[in-house]
C-alpha cells in the first residue's frame, strides 16, 4: 500500500550567511491511491519539494518516507518513484518504443515482456501505433503522453508530475488532465501533481496542498479549500475573492457604511472580510446593503461577471445570475449572503446570512 510522507521537509539554497529557504518544515501525507496536488505561485517551493521526493534535490532537513520507509539516502535511480517533467524530456535519439523500454531494459526483463508492457502503456495513453516514431515527429501533447507512459510502465509506487501540461494549449491541457485523472483512477496509483494552475488542481485533486513562500498554507479537499480557506493567502489565491477592510466591535463587523453580524469569538480589532463574487445578492432595500455603480458587465454563459464601483468599498467583482436585468452605468444595491472574517494568523470565522 504505497503511501508518501513528507516530514518536516526543509530545503535551503544559497550560502550559510545568506540562506534562501525554498521549503520550510513541510508536512504532507499522501494516502494510498490518492491524487494530491501541490498548488502555489511560481517560486513557492512546490517543484523543489517534488524534486526532493524524486531525489534530484537533497533536503536540508526532515524526511521523505514511502510506506513508512525513509528514502532520503537513496539515489534517484533507486527510488520507487517516476516523474513526468514540465519540459518535454523524451530522449530525442530514441524512438518512442525505446524511450519507454529504456527503464524496462535496465531491469533485464525478457524481450517479449518488454514488448508487451511498452505496447500496453502506449495504449493506455492512446498512442498504440506510435512506437516507431521519433519524439520530434510528435506534437507536444503526444510527447507528454509518451512521458506519462514512460513513467507508468515501471509501475512506480508514487507517480510524480511537475506541471506536465503547462506547455500545452488550453484545450489540450483540459483534455490531457481528464485523461490523466481517468488513468490514475483505473490504476489506483498514488500521485503527486505540482501545478500553479488552480483550476487544474481543483479539477484533478483528491486533496490540495496550497503552498506559499516555502510553507504549507492548507491541505484539504478542493471544496474545503474553496469554501473555507484557512489563510488570507489561500483565500486570495484560490478562485476570485473580494477582500474588504472591516472593524469588529461587539458582535458586529463594520464594513464600509454597513454593519454585518460577527461571531462572539471575534475580538474587537480590524479584520479582513473575504466575500466570494457568487456569495452576493442584489436587493431592493438599503437595509444592510451597499450600493455602487456598475462599471463593466461580461456575459460568461450561465452567469454574468459584474464589476461594481462602490463609494465605500472600492471595486468589487460579483457573479450574478442572468435572471437579473442589469446594465453598465446603473446603480445597484447588494449584500453578502456568506463571508469570512480573517483576524491575524487565526483560521477565519464563517458567517452565513
Amino acid at each position: 500500500m504505497p503511501t508518501l510522507d513528507l516530514i518536516n521537509l526543509r530545503k535551503q539554497f544559497g550560502s550559510v550567511t545568506n540562506p534562501v529557504v525554498a521549503v520550510n518544515d513541510l508536512n504532507i501525507n499522501v494516502a494510498d491511491g490518492e491524487f494530491l496536488c501541490i498548488l502555489g505561485p511560481s517560486g513557492c517551493g512546490k517543484s523543489t519539494a517534488l524534486r526532493m521526493v524524486a531525489g534530484f534535490e537533497e533536503p536540508s532537513g526532515g524526511d521523505v518516507q514511502i510506506d513508512q520507509q525513509s528514502i532520503i539516502n537513496m539515489p534517484p535511480n533507486k527510488r520507487p518513484t517516476a516523474m513526468v517533467f514540465q519540459k518535454y524530456t523524451l530522449w530525442p535519439h530514441m524512438k518512442v518504443y525505446d524511450n519507454i523500454a529504456f527503464g524496462l531494459k535496465l531491469r533485464h526483463l525478457p524481450k517479449n515482456q518488454i514488448d508487451q508492457e511498452v505496447q500496453a502503456s502506449l495504449e493506455l495513453v492512446g498512442l498504440g501505433r506510435y512506437g516507431d516514431r521519433y519524439p520530434a515527429q510528435l506534437s507536444g501533447g503526444e510527447q507528454q503522453r509518451v512521458a506519462i507512459a514512460r513513467a507508468l510502465v515501471l509501475k512506480p509506487k508514487i507517480l510524480l508530475l511537475d506541471e506536465p501540461f503547462s506547455n500545452l494549449d488550453a484545450l489540450l491541457r483540459v483534455r490531457l488532465r481528464e485523461e490523466l485523472r481517468q488513468i490514475q483512477r483505473n490504476l489506483k496509483i498514488t500521485a503527486v501533481f505540482v501545478t500553479h494552475d488552480q483550476e487544474e488542481a481543483l479539477s484533478l485533486a483528491d486533496r490540495i496542498a496550497v503552498m506559499s513562500k516555502g510553507e504549507l498554507q492548507q491541505l484539504d479537499k478542493p471544496a474545503t479549500i474553496y469554501a473555507r480557506p484557512k489563510t488570507l493567502f489561500v483565500a486570495d489565491f484560490i478562485g476570485a475573492m473580494n477582500m474588504l477592510d472591516g472593524e469588529v466591535n461587539g458582535g458586529v463587523v463594520k464594513v464600509g457604511n454597513q454593519r454585518l453580524p460577527s461571531p462572539a469569538e471575534c475580538v474587537a480589532a480590524p479584520a479582513k472580510i473575504a466575500i466570494r463574487p457568487e456569495d452576493v445578492i442584489v436587493t431592493q432595500t438599503g437595509e444592510g446593503a451597499w450600493h455602487g455603480r456598475i462599471t463593466q458587465v461580461s456575459d460568461l454563459g450561465h452567469y454574468r461577471k459584474v464589476f461594481v464601483q462602490s463609494p465605500d468599498l472600492g471595486m468589487l467583482k460579483l457573479y450574478l445570475p442572468k435572471s437579473i436585468e442589469i446594465n453598465d452605468g446603473e446603480m445597484i444595491t447588494f449584500k453578502p449572503t456568506r463571508f469570512l472574517i480573517f483576524q491575524g494568523p487565526l483560521p477565519p470565522f464563517e458567517v452565513k446570512l
Partner: protein, 289 residues
C-alpha cells in the same frame, strides 16, 4: 463581386514561378555572390591541382602545355616524404586522441559545474590564439631545450596539444551546455546510473558536435607546421614542415603542389566520411553562434 486578377504580363518569372522584381534582384545578387565565393575558394585549389600534374606551364598559357606524373614519381621516391607521411598521420592521431582524453572531461565540467573562475578559465584558452604563435613557440622552445624535449616526439606532441585546446574545449562545452539537464534527470529517474546516463543519453546528443571538434582538431594538427618546425627540428619532420622547406628551397613549383595535394588527402577522406553525421550547422552551433 469579382476581383480583377493582377495583370501578370509584366511580372518576371523564374523556374516557372512569378516573382517580383525585388525578389529577382535579390536572387541575382545571391547567384553573383555564390559565383564569386566559388572562384575565391576553388580558384587557388584548382591552381595547385593543375600545377601538381603539369610538366610544363609557362605564361601566357591558360592551362599547362604538358601533362604528366613525373613529379609525383620523384616526390614519392624521396625517403623524407615516405617517412614523413606516416609520421604526420600518427602524430595527428595521437594528438587528437590525447586532446580528447584531456579536453572532453574538462568540457563536461565546464558545462555542468559552476565553479569560481569558470568564465576566466574558458577565456584563457583563447589566449594561445590571441598572440603571434611564433614568439610563443620560440619561448617554449627555450624551456623545452632545457628539458631535452626539442627534436623529440613528446615535445612536438605537447606543442601541438596546446593548439587543440580551444577547439576541443569550446565546441564540446557548448554542446554539453545545450543538453537539457532534465533529459539526464529523466534517465536517472527510470533507474539508469550516472555513467549509463552519460554514455546512453548525453553522449549521443553531443556526438555530432564532438565529431566536428575531433575532425577540426585532427585536420588542423595534420597541417600544423610552425610548432612542429621549431620544436621538432631536426629529429621530427612532418609533411607540413617538409612542404614549407620545399616551397622555400626549391624553385620548382610542382614539388610543393604535389605535397599539398598529398596533405589534402586525409582531410578529404575524413570529410567525406564525416558527412554522414555532420550537419552544416553543427560546428557553428558548437561555437554558440
Amino acid at each position: 463581386m469579382k476581383i480583377d486578377p493582377t495583370p501578370a504580363y509584366h511580372q518576371p518569372t523564374m523556374f516557372g514561378y512569378r516573382i517580383s522584381t525585388r525578389t529577382l534582384r535579390r536572387e541575382a545578387f545571391g547567384i553573383f555572390a555564390l559565383v564569386a565565393l566559388t572562384l575565391i575558394i576553388i580558384g587557388p585549389m584548382m591552381t595547385v591541382f593543375l600545377w601538381a600534374f603539369a610538366e610544363r606551364w609557362r605564361q601566357p598559357a591558360l592551362l599547362p602545355t604538358e601533362w604528366g606524373l613525373s613529379y609525383w614519381y620523384e616526390t614519392l621516391a624521396r625517403n623524407d616524404i615516405t617517412s614523413a607521411m606516416p609520421m604526420s598521420l600518427g602524430l595527428a592521431l595521437t594528438v587528437t586522441a590525447l586532446s580528447a582524453i584531456i579536453c572532453l572531461p574538462a568540457a563536461y565540467a565546464f558545462a555542468r559545474i559552476n565553479f569560481p573562475g569558470r568564465q576566466g578559465l574558458l577565456l584563457s584558452f583563447l589566449a594561445v590564439n590571441a598572440f603571434p604563435r611564433f614568439g610563443l613557440y620560440v619561448t617554449i622552445a627555450v624551456v623545452f631545450f632545457r628539458l631535452g624535449l626539442v627534436g623529440t616526439l613528446p615535445g612536438v606532441i605537447l606543442i601541438q596539444l596546446v593548439n587543440t585546446l580551444l577547439t576541443m574545449i569550446w565546441i564540446p562545452t557548448s554542446a554539453f551546455q545545450n543538453i537539457d539537464r532534465a533529459l539526464e534527470e529523466a534517465a536517472l529517474d527510470v533507474g539508469a546510473g550516472r555513467l549509463r546516463v552519460f554514455f546512453q543519453i548525453t553522449l549521443p546528443q553531443v556526438f555530432p558536435a564532438l565529431a566536428a571538434a575531433l575532425l577540426l582538431t585532427f585536420v588542423s594538427t595534420f597541417y600544423e607546421a610552425q610548432g612542429a618546425l621549431i620544436i621538432g627540428i631536426p629529429g621530427i619532420r612532418t609533411m607540413a614542415v617538409l612542404m614549407y622547406s620545399y616551397i622555400n628551397n626549391q624553385i620548382v613549383v610542382q614539388y610543393g603542389a604535389v605535397i599539398s595535394l598529398m596533405l589534402w588527402l586525409p582531410s578529404l577522406v575524413l570529410l567525406s566520411f564525416a558527412q554522414k553525421f555532420l550537419r552544416g550547422n553543427t560546428v557553428s552551433s558548437g561555437f554558440g553562434v
